[in-house]
Subunit: 113 residues, 3 copies
Amino acid sequence: MERTDMDEIELGALKKLEIVVEGEHREFVTDLLDHAGVKGYTIVENLSGKGAHGFHQGHLMFNDDALLIMIIAAVPEPLVQPILGGFAPFLGRHSGVVFVSDIQVMRMVKFQG
Amino acid sequence: MERTDMDEIELGALKKLEIVVEGEHREFVTDLLDHAGVKGYTIVENLSGKGAHGFHQGHLMFNDDALLIMIIAAVPEPLVQPILGGFAPFLGRHSGVVFVSDIQVMRMVKFQG
Amino acid sequence: MERTDMDEIELGALKKLEIVVEGEHREFVTDLLDHAGVKGYTIVENLSGKGAHGFHQGHLMFNDDALLIMIIAAVPEPLVQPILGGFAPFLGRHSGVVFVSDIQVMRMVKFQG
């Protein structure tokens, strides 16, 4: 049957991960996502910023010259904890933030294992 | 009456659309948003990424050289389904993802038709 | 005790602010965030877009040549209203949008005052 304008587009619920790290750590992040079974991601380069470095210190995380990247991935909820677990040791040693939020997507099957 | 620091800033609920496509399809997306009555959008250029191409194939969506863009728009909820309906045929033929999420905005009137 | 793969990574709830302004107003925004007690932010530069200018006019906010930036910050909920209050007069005179959304983060302490 043909799709008509009456049909509602179905949305599926996923978690969005937004991971900001220094550019030199790009491969660490994409390898971690690949190994966790994440099907795709988008990378925004040449960001700047400032923030707290590591867990305890509280001084600047990013100087003005740091080349930061944000890696954005939409993942099924069961992958979130394994991915965060893979990041925890990294964030103890390096600058970075990980944001988790709720999103909905079209064509859910593209994001599933 | 003057605004004072005691006044609460009112927020209005909208849906955020984040649309990632190859750069050559920018005008298709902005035309679709314009025709749907979307009042504004922001475009992030020069993204990279990888993902599943189309619906069934499951191979790489974006090679490393593809110039991707992300178009971000905040839209009233009733516009979401018409916009997604406009994208459905596009996503059957081209690479791309559409994320839908909940946001709140100041000055709601700027986003309404 | 060592962390094991069995441990769940704890997430803390914050509000994400996404602030899009013309690039010349970058320092106004980062000063406002700094003074409000925000611990960090990430800046995406060289955006383009269009939108409604100011509150009443409804004509184009950003021409194609405007250099826009998006400043992304994760802030504790009690900071949201003071920050929005600081923006309100700015948005009456200048182009810009502020999106507020719910996120969760690892290492919550990095974002707190």
